[in-house]
């Protein structure tokens, strides 16, 4: 693992940025370098200006028809094209899941499904556009790599790393700007290798996605003031999961707290519990979205907190893990 740590507090923080914008800029750069890389759109808005206008031969808009979108992309990939498929997480993982399963995953094709509006990031758009189940379903597809970046900078590294990865890839993005997690030098990126953002001996917090990682760091600060030192891992790759780092965490700290912008059922927390129960049983407390639909409008953060995902919840879970050891 890279030893790159994050000094978060002191330097003036870079401005918030959107992982979606970072992805789109990176996709265009990649496509300029390699004509096999296509942007397959589904009326997502903006790509016709940002991509089609410059590289029309590597772009197709299939309209508002996500089932067809996935199957067409599979067929394109079967001919050697490297399609990046653009839609929202709710549609990629639910409406078009069968096409992703059968046409993309079963055929092990190099299709990159890049889904925005994941978790509660669609915020005020409501539960029709929320995606609290996509990690759960995508990671059950054989051969599917499943990743979610912590900030815009990591999005750039992740998209570049995904471009030529064998087999299908699901990249889970948010929507609006979020605060940066990484503020120093380029920390590098390896698919399937977690990034240690803080080193601590008492408890390990494993997080994935922008708000969850920010919450984990905020919780680690609060815990430090209470005399509890926490390791913070950015588990940007949900599948294949970084099992060795989890085994080390289980062996060297009191237990693990997971944090995710996803249902408590089947996501990062479940993946971590599955892995540790097999390889090094330890206490795993999961912070994730309650098994219910959001009843009211709210910002992304407000909906997370209403659903049970907040720095305070991470702190409480970490304290419970540490208390359990004593």
């Amino acid at each position: 693992m890279s030893g790159a740590l994050v000094a978060r507090a002191q330097a003036p923080a870079p401005a918030p940025a959107s992982d979606r914008a970072a992805y789109r800029a990176t996709l265009l750069e990649l496509a300029r370098e390699d004509s096999r890389i296509w942007c397959v759109d589904s009326d997502t808005g903006g790509l016709e200006k940002q991509f089609e206008s410059e590289l029309p031969d590597q772009y197709v808009d299939l309209g508002i028809a996500e089932a067809n979108l996935m199957s067409v992309s599979a067929a394109l990939a079967s001919t050697g094209i490297l399609p990046f498929v653009n839609t929202m997480a709710a549609f990629a993982s639910a409406r078009a899941l069968e096409q992703v399963k059968v046409d993309i995953a079963y055929h092990a094709l190099q299709v990159r499904v890049v889904a925005t509006h994941s978790g509660f990031s669609a915020a005020h758009l409501g539960p029709t556009h929320h995606a609290q189940q996509d990690l759960a379903v995508m990671r059950t597809l054989p051969g599917m790599t499943v990743m979610t970046p912590a900030d815009a900078g990591e999005t750039v590294r992740m998209v570049r790393a995904a471009a030529y990865l064998p087999g299908p890839v699901y990249i889970r993005l948010g929507r609006a700007e979020t605060d940066p997690v990484y503020t120093g030098d380029d920390p590098g990126f390896t698919v399937g290798r977690a990034v240690e953002l803080r080193a601590g001996g008492d408890v390990t917090i494993v997080a994935a996605g922008s708000y969850p990682v920010l919450f984990a760091l905020e919780a680690a600060d609060a815990l430090a003031e209470q005399g509890i030192s926490a390791t913070v891992l950015n588990m940007h790759t949900i599948k294949p999961l970084d099992v060795p780092v989890l085994v080390r965490a289980a062996a060297t700290t009191a237990g693990i707290v997971t944090v995710e912008d996803h249902s408590l059922l089947g996501g990062l927390g479940s993946a971590v519990a599955e892995a540790t129960s097999l390889h090094h049983p330890t206490r795993v407390l999961r912070v994730g979205a309650a098994d219910s639909f959001c009843p009211r409008p709210g910002t992304h953060r407000e909906q997370l907190e209403a659903s049970g995902v907040s720095p305070d919840r991470v702190v409480a879970a970490a304290r419970a893990v540490v208390r359990g050891r004593r």
Binding site: G63, A65, A67, N68, V72, L76, V102
Partner: protein, 283 residues
């Protein structure tokens, strides 16, 4: 016997006798597979048999000894449950040994009840209905952007047209002007629960396709003298083409024809012998 049909394309004759012989062989294989350990979708395999034979023995540019040849025409069996007819046709055409058909459904072999990539000549694993036409759109789009001559043929079931994704694909193909794409609908008018028109009506079917921007016509799906020229001349200009192939479920075995009970069958030895005798008597 080579017969020059009136509609024969570019002066190349249609060998009707050869096509009829192959079609009989394919139907015999289908019945044998139906008498095997897991049975098969007999009715829809027999209705599709002549379309498959016309494609593989006349229309498609393929190389059995080089299934991945990059100049090939693509064929997708969107109604993947007719796997018995596809495997039988591929075997007759030389993609796999005819003897291998006896391994259909056996765990020691590779012939699953729905086509898989492990079978030479199979381009996509199909069987979940409503995927094939979209896959055809992708292949046709890729060929056109690369300025390659590969044509794409997709065989759909008529009941399959009840899947909404078929019409997403139909819209896309017309919008993109994919004239290298040809769909063939095996219009046998039966689905599991009965007549398509009783269960979830499809008519006026030709009008539907035309309204979606396709060249659409009806052709006898069992008369090679009409089917072959229609398939040969299908790729048009500017828009995709669909042939509604008028077929009979269970075609060739009199007591199975037009019967929904023949959709899936696991034939007993006696039933197999009776079906085979009926098939040969009608040939």
């Amino acid at each position: 016997m080579t017969v020059q049909t009136a509609e024969a394309f570019a002066g190349v004759g249609v060998d009707l006798g050869e096509l009829e012989r192959r079609a009989l062989a394919v139907r015999e294989h289908v019945l044998a597979i139906g008498a095997g350990p897991i049975g098969t979708h007999v009715g829809g395999s027999l209705s599709a048999a002549d379309i498959l034979v016309a494609l593989y023995f006349d229309v498609l540019r393929v190389r059995p000894d080089e299934p991945g040849w990059n100049g090939r025409d693509h064929f997708l069996l969107s109604k993947g449950h007719a796997s018995a007819a596809l495997y039988a046709t591929l075997a007759e055409r030389g993609f796999l040994p005819v003897e291998e058909l006896a391994t259909y459904g056996r765990s020691s072999g590779r012939l699953m009840a729905h086509p898989t990539l492990s079978v030479p000549g199979v381009e996509f694993a199909t069987g979940s209905l409503g995927h094939g036409l979209s896959l055809g759109v992708g292949l046709a789009l890729a060929a056109r952007r690369a300025v390659r001559p590969n044509r794409v043929y997709v065989l759909l079931g008529d009941g399959e047209l009840q899947e909404g994704s078929v019409w997403e694909a139909a819209m896309a193909a017309a919008h993109l002007g994919l004239d290298g794409l040809t769909a063939v609908v095996d219009r046998n008018r039966l689905q599991i629960n009965g007549s398509t028109e009783d269960r979830m009506g499809l008519e006026p079917l030709t009008d539907k396709w035309r309204a979606f921007g396709w060249n659409a016509s009806v052709v006898d799906g069992h008369d090679f003298s009409r089917l072959v020229p229609a398939l040969r001349s299908a790729p048009g200009s500017g828009r995709p083409t669909v042939l509604i192939a008028d077929t009979v479920k269970g075609r060739g075995v009199r007591h199975l024809e037009h019967r929904k009970q023949g959709h899936f069958a696991k034939l007993s030895p006696a039933a197999y012998e009776r079906a085979l005798a009926a098939l040969r008597a009608a040939a």
